[in-house]
């Protein structure tokens, strides 16, 4: 059976003008990501992974080449069109959660739907509650962001990424600010979403995470250096269970 292509990059290049010099952040990147894949994109700092993430997230457009998101060509789109595309097709998860301060979990999750006229207040709230249930925070709906732990905040952020039922979830160092145990908890959640058929792109510099994903793309100097499928996906849940029990004192 032919798998559906969610993301397709064709020789994407991105140049930046820094003073009189031109920096080639991406030097011809091509790949396809299919529906239901859990892809880690790895690379050291300066490898171009942030630039690639901005491309994938429609926050930026390529200097040349073509990027198709769910079959839609992004390069020639105007700013407002890309905003709409982000709203409908992409769910972002950031390293530092980026929740709105003094705002409840539900309201935070509702945020993307605020910019979607197809949802009224009730539909918005229902969808937000459903997303929070999916990340295991059904009992934290009305907690404000400053009343939650880092792991909980990141789960709210994941719920926010899920709420618009996106074509792809883009995670940027989503476990970077969390301790080992909480990182595994979040990874368990990503694996669960993967198992449910979601397409996930996880950008990280942590090689460990690649073991839990289905495919690993390594970037160096703006080019793809490695692109391998992982046939031996480790279970994050097992890794979590194997961790020493937390010391309660």
């Amino acid at each position: 059976m032919e798998r559906k292509v969610v993301i397709e990059l064709r020789d994407v290049r991105r140049d930046f003008q820094v003073g009189s010099e031109t920096v080639h952040a991406l030097r011809g990147v091509s790949f396809k990501i299919y529906e239901g894949e859990f892809v880690t994109i790895m690379g050291t700092s300066g490898s171009g992974k942030s630039t690639l993430l901005n491309q994938l997230g429609c926050l930026d457009t390529p200097t040349s080449g073509e990027y198709l998101l769910d079959g839609i060509a992004v390069r020639t789109m105007r700013r407002s069109q890309r905003a709409r595309l982000r709203n409908r097709k992409i769910g972002f998860v950031f390293q530092n959660y980026n929740l709105l301060a003094k705002t409840t979990a539900v309201e935070n999750v509702e945020l993307p739907l605020m910019y979607n006229k197809e949802y009224n207040a009730r539909a918005r709230r229902e969808a937000a509650i459903k997303a929070l249930e999916a990340v295991g925070l059904a009992d934290r709906l009305e907690h404000k962001s400053n009343q939650m732990s880092g792991g909980q905040m990141q789960r709210v952020a994941i719920a926010r990424a899920l709420v618009n039922n996106p074509a792809v979830i883009l995670a940027d160092e989503a476990t970077g600010n969390l301790d080992t145990r909480t990182s595994f908890e979040v990874l368990v959640l990503f694996q669960k979403l993967h198992a449910e058929g979601r397409t996930i792109i996880f950008v990280t510099h942590n090689p460990e995470i690649a073991q839990y994903s289905s495919r690993n793309i390594v970037l160096r100097d703006g080019k793809i250096r490695e692109d391998v499928e992982n046939h031996n996906i480790l279970s994050a849940a097992e890794a979590l269970a194997a961790l020493p029990a937390p010391q309660d004192d």
Partner: protein, 406 residues
């Protein structure tokens, strides 16, 4: 994003920075309050002048010698003596829309009774004068045509003159006073009118037949002015036209000559007064409006701070799908809300000041309804005008940089 949600966000943003929001509103509050109270004072003054003038007879017409002086041109002195008996007689016999006519000759001087004296003005008038000026006699009688013919030395006096010359409370009627050493018998006392808006005591008058004043006091053959009253206020303009035709004929003016007299109606006078008050009001309001300008700059400043503070939030909103327009609307609504809330509080503040003006100082200030509406409109304009630049700044942020802003 829907406007309801934008409003909710704006209210939340304002409430989470209460002190700062209030301080940026304060400029608007003071500015709007000042504008409101200035307009109220202007309006109040206008109304009290109007009330005052209407007690003097709204259909009053005043004919003065010389061309219209409002241009400020110096007059040929001979032109000041152009109103004569022939004019008066012509008006009496021919004027169509006039129901009372009185030549007027005035002279100031000292009035003496016994050991008391006072400085007053003697008005030489015809018997019609009191009805033209809507003035009543409280005690005694007025003089008659007979007195005019005989240049009788009789007079009617105002309350102030009575108070000054008869401090003991004797009945003045029948007593003989001296004005500029000419004896006048008091035949009537006028009802009190009090001070007018310009601080002039309207009761410090002595009214005598014009013939008496002309011959015995002023020694002149011309009138200082002629006052008449139009049949109705609406006919004032027709009366002026008619009188102009009569006087041009009696003055033997050619087609090409300009009028050597001026006829002004009370309405015209009222309009002049109002327009003077309007000018003063405008100057005051403009001064107050400058404080609104400063307040607007204050709001712009605070909105710029707000945009910088919330760069990360803007980045997040953009990455989850907010367009530039959504972001700029969000900040515009916030600045409109700040200035409009300031406007509402400012109107209340202005109302309080106006009340203080009335109750404490006793100045008759009235808030015109339109000034409240204008204030709100101006506040919205300030919110949009001074919020636009910060809102645009927010909308133009690059989401990539904004979301990583620390």
């Amino acid at each position: 994003m829907s406007y309801i949600n934008l409003f909710k966000i704006a209210i939340k943003a304002i409430m989470s920075n209460k002190a700062r929001s209030f301080l940026s509103m304060l400029g608007i509050i003071i500015g709007v309050g000042a504008v409101i109270v200035m307009m109220a004072i202007g309006q109040g003054s206008k109304e009290s002048i109007r009330k005052e003038l209407s007690t003097m007879g709204t259909n009053l017409l005043t004919i003065r010698p010389g061309a219209d002086m409002r241009g400020g041109v110096r007059l040929d002195p001979s032109a000041m003596q152009t109103l004569k008996q022939a004019d008066y007689e012509a008006i009496l016999s021919e004027a169509k829309f006039v129901k009372g006519v009185s030549p007027e000759v005035t002279t100031s001087g000292q009035a003496v009774f016994g050991s008391n004296n006072t400085t007053s003005t003697c008005y030489g008038e015809s018997p019609d004068y009191l009805s033209i000026k809507l003035w009543n006699i409280e005690e005694g009688t007025g003089f008659t045509e007979e007195d005019v013919k005989k240049s009788a030395k009789v007079c009617i006096v105002g309350k102030t003159v009575v108070k000054e010359l008869f401090p003991g409370g004797q009945d003045p009627v029948g007593k003989t006073i001296r004005f500029k050493s000419i004896p006048f018998r008091i035949i009537g006392v006028l009802k009190g009118k009090g001070y007018n808006n310009w601080g002039m005591d309207q009761d410090n008058v002595i009214i005598a037949p014009y013939t008496t004043v002309m011959k015995r006091l002023a020694a002149q053959t011309h009138y200082n002015s002629i006052v008449c009253s139009a049949v109705t206020e609406e006919l004032s303009d027709a009366a002026i036209e008619d009188l102009t035709a009569i006087l041009r004929r009696t003055h033997k003016l050619k087609e090409s000559d300009v009028d050597n007299f001026t006829i002004r109606s009370q309405q015209e006078f009222m309009e002049t007064m109002s327009s003077t008050m309007d000018t003063i009001t405008i100057i005051l309001v403009v001064a107050a409006a400058f404080s609104l300008l400063v307040a607007g700059i204050g709001i712009m400043n605070i909105m710029l701070v707000s945009v910088t503070e919330r760069t990360k939030e803007i980045g997040l909103r953009m990455s989850v799908g907010a367009r530039g327009l959504d972001i700029s609307n969000q900040f515009l609504i916030e600045s409109i809300l700040i200035s409009l809330t300031g406007g509402i509080l400012g109107v209340l503040f202005g109302g309080l000041l106006t009340w203080g003006c009335n109750a404490i100082i006793g100045y008759p200030a009235v808030i015109p309804a339109w000034s409240v509406i204008v204030s709100f409109a101006v506040c919205v304009a300030i919110g949009v005008g001074f919020g636009y630049f910060p809102a645009q700044k927010a909308a133009r942020l690059d989401p990539i940089e904004a979301i990583r802003y620390e």
